[in-house]
Chain length 357, copies 2
């Protein structure tokens, strides 16, 4: 059985989304149990209205709620009994294998980092997401999507390591994940200074590093993990959302341009609906806070119950397949190998200094 802690009060709509989302999720996953955190009375009422299966849901009372626009540091300091924090505490205490919240992203990151700490060797957690590629059987993990706007080469390399370990843990059948560094060209010498340094580090690592990849490669099935900083990653994610919306509205315009196209739209309705379902952003809801000692999933704050259900699904699959112990061991091995290369290089450069007097 997998138990997931759910911040029931988080998100723009709180209980009216989280409770029906939780009920829909439990119907999908018969082996899941939920710990829902928030105001006990309100939760009981909402769960009753939604005819929730109470044998598979436990309520954990939390007296506070973190506001959507609250400063992360203030939430951390003043909201120690928030539904968000209590949900993360459940993971820390071993009562749940994952926590899900649709609340304030900054506060969730700060709280998760404070309560759970990062995996040894990982300085900062990143936000990651699986992006569908052209091949229906393949997804690309992209990180960081906005947790860290300024990153150095060491941090980017750590993102590559943790991303690779997650994909490896979730899809061991696929072999060693192919890691790509997001850049403006595929040649080794391209990019900013930080990206060039990262390239060197990744090249000397034991990761399956395939070199630089470009913006369009995220949609190819030739790369499994795409690494970039949170500034570029966030802009890229929003660009993808914008481009898909733009295309969808272009399709709509085209199918209502004249009477013939309008008639065609009626015949094409199943295909158009299939298309819409395939690209439904709610299906891709659920961003992974990666690099923490526990699974934390951030749902979009403005999503509906279907979207929230998908965030719970993401948490469920990660909790089920991505064993923390295994990931921590993998990260430790990768970072140790990198450290060894560095020491050898330092030694070699020392030797060469001596041998060229």
């Amino acid at each position: 059985m997998i138990t997931i802690a759910v911040d029931a009060m988080g998100g723009d709509a709180g209980l009216t989304v989280t409770v029906p989302g939780a009920v829909a999720f439990l119907k999908q996953q018969p082996n899941a149990h939920l710990l829902m955190t928030g105001d006990e009375l309100l939760l009981q009422q909402a769960l009753k209205t939604a005819q929730a299966p109470m044998d598979r849901i436990s309520i954990v009372h939390a007296s506070q709620v973190v506001e959507m626009d609250e400063a992360p540091q203030l939430a951390l300091k003043n909201k120690k009994d928030s539904s968000m924090r209590v949900a993360i505490n459940q993971v820390k205490e071993g009562n749940a294998q994952a926590a899900v919240s649709a609340g304030n992203t900054g506060a969730l990151m700060a709280t998760a980092r404070f309560v759970l700490k990062t995996i040894p060797g990982i300085e900062r957690p990143a936000i990651a997401k699986f992006i569908p590629s052209g091949n229906p059987g393949h997804m690309t993990l992209m990180l960081d999507l906005g947790a860290n706007v300024d990153c150095n080469a060491d941090q980017l390399t750590q993102f590559a390591v943790i991303g690779s370990e997650l994909v490896q843990a979730m899809h061991p059948e696929k072999g060693r994940p192919r890691v790509g560094l997001l850049n403006v060209g595929t040649e080794d010498i391209k990019g900013t200074e930080t990206v060039k340094q990262t390239f060197k580090l990744l090249k000397s690592s034991k990761l399956n590093f395939i070199g630089n990849v470009e913006g369009n490669d995220v949609f190819n099935d030739e790369v499994d993990v795409v690494v970039t900083d949170g500034f570029v990653g966030n802009i890229m994610l929003k660009t993808i959302e914008g481009a898909i919306k733009f295309m969808s509205s272009a399709i709509k315009q085209e199918f209502s341009r004249n009477i013939f196209n309008k008639m065609a739209a009626v015949t094409a309705l199943p295909a158009l609906k299939g298309m819409k379902a395939k690209l439904d952003p709610r299906k891709f809801n659920g961003a992974i806070f990666l690099g923490l000692r526990g699974v934390v999933i951030k749902s979009h704050g403005g999503t509906d119950e279907v979207g929230f259900m998908y965030a719970l699904e993401e948490a469920y699959h990660e909790a089920r397949f991505a064993s923390l112990a295994k990931i921590e061991q993998g990260v430790a091995d990768q970072l140790a190998a990198l450290e060894e290369v560095r020491e050898q290089e330092a030694l070699a450069s020392g030797v060469s200094h001596i041998s060229t007097p």
Copy 2:
């Protein structure tokens, strides 16, 4: 009459694309004349085969060709009689109002910068492109798309100024262009250190600065100029290309998923074709090298004759509407206003130092 210098030997396919592209363009624009640069004999032959209107085309012989993978600095040094350089020389000497090349991007930028120089006050040229937005009557100018991977706040501000002046010159009827700074959120305090500094500079400028914009805003008709560095801009452009390709293949998959959808596709063919035509990447071919003392347009190296024709169209419209003198005056006024703010700030901080002993 508008005269455009065409690097006839540039691009992956050289004359076999540039000559038919030129002929197609001349059919569209009866007031255009072309100076085609390259090997005289080969050009004469190709133009004859294409039944080109020779009264509207002049050949300017050039004995060399810049290779697609040649190092820019080597091309600059060793290829002084290349078709690319001779084309740019035509602009410099006043024989043409614009130059178009499908050749090596780096070499074209280095040559254009060396021959034409930048507009006073603009340190580095940028690569810019008009991106279609959701509103068919609106395009967003995005820059930089890859000329400068590392930019400081002054340079980003200069990109904003030159981008705004170009849009103003080409669309004076639309009023002052709305300038947005690409960022990871719309709040003033977001972003990297460089972006935060740029925000302050733009805020103190006389531009119509609307603040931070996000990746998806490029597709909205609420911003006219989106400023970012060449690293983010290039990744974003490639991401858009990738997302559109991904969507197109998703449409194709959906319409061939079963016999009903396949039948629907036949009825929907005009709409699907309309859609394809609307998003045809060849229509958006032609990137603007902005900030130079002359119009230089870069065509995609792998485009076909239709794509090359659109690059010529872009050059034609820019040469026709964007007067260099006017843009230079606009840039000078904007930069002077910024300088004034800086001096006042320096003075104010000096005064405050004195008044608080």
